[in-house]
Symmetry: C2
């Protein structure tokens, strides 16, 4: 790829840059630690989404980043839409760019684009860099010139720009001028400390644009909770390059969230910044990148959160039945998300009917079943259950109400449980876990014992071992995640006790899809067991296996 | 209290309203379910923080809310700063306000202030309410007049105002006019579907202010990720009443976060909207309200998040040692938060030294200890450990490096572990858990067996039973929270295996303070055990008990 090539799939060509820095600035977030394989996977997701630039890291400063660029250049990363960007600093004071090993590492990365970070606040130049404005500008100009002469496209990240511009506008503008005169294509104004508000951002961007005529970019941190708004305001004021991170990952309060900013650019400013068909991949991409970062997705994230279009109020839920578009700012399907109705103790009959329809069940003609579901949900939620994130358990409960299985607990179990036992032992450092379950399956008593790497894993194995002779399709089902939450008695609604209860959410998959079930108990193992049993019952539903209830 | 009284502690008197709706609109958030006692506790926290208005709920529509107002009026809620607000709808079409039981319930609540919600988008009036603009305006005017005649102060929430104003500005303004002419004090413009951006909000607020001269309020939802910015932009454009929720709780993507908006008003717009001394209570209040809502605090929340001033980058960490104020947009102490340095595999020696200083340990003169801590942290984090949220485990590790205890695992254990065993059994529905631990304590072999309501609880009890004869102060220590996270192999850095590992964080308290420890293992029970052992070792440190290491 020629270093100056405009990324192929970007709908606005070179006119507007969606620039992702998840792999560099996003990795500054507390708790994030990407392996090289993770970084390659993140880059592939971002490229598939159609961002124009992927900042891969800081070669020469971080060993993992150096390896990432080497493996990308060796053919492990084929990009269809994006250009790869190496991030780095200007030459050190008192050397030449060619002799600076750190600048050399940027070239060695073989990335066609380099983003250089430079100080633009005089206080930082003098107190952190311990040099003067003239030498700082020379460092910028030399390094930009060296890299452009080597055929690289160069962007300049002007660090602490907004604070610096307020303190000493001339110094801030001199740094931009040094970079652009030496060949940098974009001067990126960074709100590094994140203290700005949108009206101030818009005013400064417009002023700098007016005074310099340079192509401007924007990079916002979220310390005022305004990074998304600040980024959009900068674009409205004339910035044509916006630096973002997936899900807003970043240091302190984070960066501007790629999905919210792109969502706003596309739906509010009518700027088609992603290739055809990619916008509806936003939700999937957001969740996949959370998975790789090993951070639970933010359920309330704008546009892509699981709850972003979830309606709880009984009042609104009944109106939504009439006219859904009056209650959403956009069609959730456009970003690959969906409208959800939350069934909670606050919800009325309308919510339950809507939720049933969402799950493919017709509750509209069965007022008795609706009443039974509403009553069961209210009672269970008062004990700490939550069905909002456990659609599979809720569907079992609704089906029980419709089928009238006669089971007291309202679930639809294709077997009866006699007992289980779990033993965990640590002798001299070695840990062994063993679970035994005793079931009555299709009238026959079955006992299975399995080891596992923990109590839930061992119980899951034993439960499936007991069932799989009669249900061979269970071999394809596996537990993909479990979450444990200790509910303080004060949070558990009106039910007050001396002991906390534990809520376990189990996510299962059969390769074709995944589903979530819930269990609540004072004992985490029993809570897990309840969720595992629901998971297996739901797998039977998916498989089309008869969900005949035996006596509990 | 006379209904028209201005709240006593509000620094700007009646000139500016910080209006909290956590208990009504915030409760719409997925997963939130307040008991009446929770609601009273939330109101006390908000009043102590000094907000001007607390919207307590919708009496007459929600039984819990009716009870909340009754108990508040009966003397269970003494407010020093805030006025209590009841939320409700205007009279139904075709009735009178006096005859509408819902309007009557607002009076019966005895709240001195009532906020009425009304439709201001013609499409909603016609399609959801199924009435016309004239009748809608009559409903507004009648209800406002009825309540003001009864001595109530009335605010009007103009629902879907921004969408309605864009669609049909005359109808939207007629609704405001009906309310204010009938006696409403504030016309609150609501971005109910949350689709606005700050520049548009500012423009509309300024225009409405210009055309009507009414006192305006703002209520923003976060569907574009801009609720905080939109609220601040509205204030900059002339709104003098801002409706917020604690931590941004609310339906879908949530509402505007009280702490971020107040943080911005105070530090960026120099508006002293809280009473003297209250600003530094923001962080504590935010976390307390998260606790009551039973939602994990957002670590990356602006101003009040645990990570809001946490620096990870080795580059910045060394500069922060020189000049901290260059790297924060404000002094974290002002909001009761603190700067933190995150010790991770990305961090260098400077971070470890700074972190040591934060924990009260002087590592500056001990380069060998710094090297050992850096190496141990890197190695453990590659296996899935995370010390970012487990300062107590990190301090034990640092003390081990400084004291040279000679233990291979680098922790400081005042006893040796021989073995433990946990048994969980469910026979016919009854669950029994029993744990046995065998320790060598001060040279003596000790065996203890305890039951518990789960494996961690039973192990914790048995561990403390074995230790408490020699350490009676352990009676005051208890496990206050535990969190479990399954780490997918792909997220665990470079260590790839066929099995996931589990990370457990245990929070302990001795009444005077709390501390967090971490354990990581393939088995959740072993991971919990490791964190419990660290918790007990750290309790010893706090107690000043000698932390002598016996042979492991």
């Amino acid at each position: 790829m020629s270093p100056r090539t405009v990324p192929a799939g970007t709908p606005l060509g070179d006119d507007f840059h969606v620039y992702d820095t998840t792999l560099r600035d996003g990795a500054q977030r507390e708790g994030v630690s990407y392996s090289v394989a993770d970084k390659l996977a993140v880059a592939r997701h971002l490229d598939a989404l159609g961002v124009g630039y992927i900042e891969g890291g800081w070669p020469g400063a971080m060993p993992k980043d150096t390896e990432f660029f080497a493996r990308a250049a060796a053919g492990e990363l084929e990009l269809r839409h994006a250009a790869l960007v190496a991030f780095g600093a200007t030459r050190k004071a008192g050397t030449t760019a060619a002799d600076d090993p750190q600048v050399r590492a940027l070239l060695d990365s073989q990335a066609p684009v380099v983003t250089l970070v430079a100080k633009s606040d005089r206080r930082h130049i003098e107190r952190a860099l311990r040099t003067d404005v003239a030498e700082n500008c020379a460092m910028v100009a030399d390094t930009v010139a060296f890299l452009t002469n080597e055929g690289r496209r160069v962007f300049l990240d002007a660090e602490h720009f907004f604070d610096g511009f307020r303190f000493d506008p001339d110094t801030a503008l001199r740094v931009l001028d040094a970079a652009v005169t030496a060949g940098a294509d974009v001067a990126v104004l960074c709100d590094t400390n994140g203290g700005m508000l949108p009206l101030g951002i818009a005013e400064t961007v417009a002023q700098v644009k007016d005074r310099t005529g340079f192509r401007l970019g924007i990079h916002c941190q979220d310390d005022t909770g305004c990074a998304v708004a600040n980024s959009v305001a900068a674009v409205q004021a004339g910035a044509t390059h916006v630096q973002l991170t997936a899900n807003g990952y970043g240091e302190r309060a984070g960066n501007a969230d790629l999905f919210a900013v792109v969502g706003n650019l596309v739906t509010k400013l009518n700027m088609p910044v992603l290739p055809d068909g990619a916008f509806s991949e936003m939700t999937r991409t957001s969740h996949a990148l959370a998975e790789i970062a090993n951070i639970a997705p933010d359920t309330h994230q704008a546009y892509v959160g699981v709850a972003a279009f979830a309606h709880k109020a009984g009042l609104h839920a009944s109106a939504i039945k009439v006219d859904p578009e009056l209650y959403n700012h956009m069609d959730p399907v456009d970003v690959g998300n969906g409208q959800r109705v939350l069934v909670t103790e606050m919800a009325g009959r309308a919510s339950v009917e809507l939720k049933g329809a969402e799950l493919g069940l017709d509750l509209a003609g069965r007022p008795d079943a609706v009443s039974s579901v509403v009553a069961t949900v209210k009672e269970r939620e008062s004990q700490g259950w939550s069905f909002e994130a456990a659609d599979a358990s809720l569907e079992l409960l609704m089906r029980a109400a419709l089928n009238d299985t006669g089971l007291d607990d309202g679930t639809v179990l294709p077997f009866a449980i006699e007992s289980y036992r779990v033993l965990i032992e640590n002798r001299g450092g070695e840990v062994v876990t063993e679970a035994t379950v005793k079931l009555v399956v299709d009238g026959e008593r079955t006992i299975a014992t399995c080891e596992g790497n923990g109590p839930v894993n061992a119980l899951d194995a034993a439960l499936r071992a007991a069932l799989s002779p009669s249900r061979p399709w269970l071999a394809d089902v596996e537990l993909s995640d479990f979450k444990v939450r200790l509910l303080a008695p004060q949070g558990a609604g009106e039910t007050r006790g001396t002991d906390a209860v534990t809520r376990v959410l189990v996510e299962s998959t059969d390769g074709a899809g995944s589903w979530t079930t819930v269990g609540v108990h004072g004992n985490v193992v029993e809570a897990s067991w309840l969720a595992l049993v629901d998971a297996v019952a739901y797998a039977g539903l998916r498989e089309g296996a008869p969900v005949a209830a035996t006596a509990g």
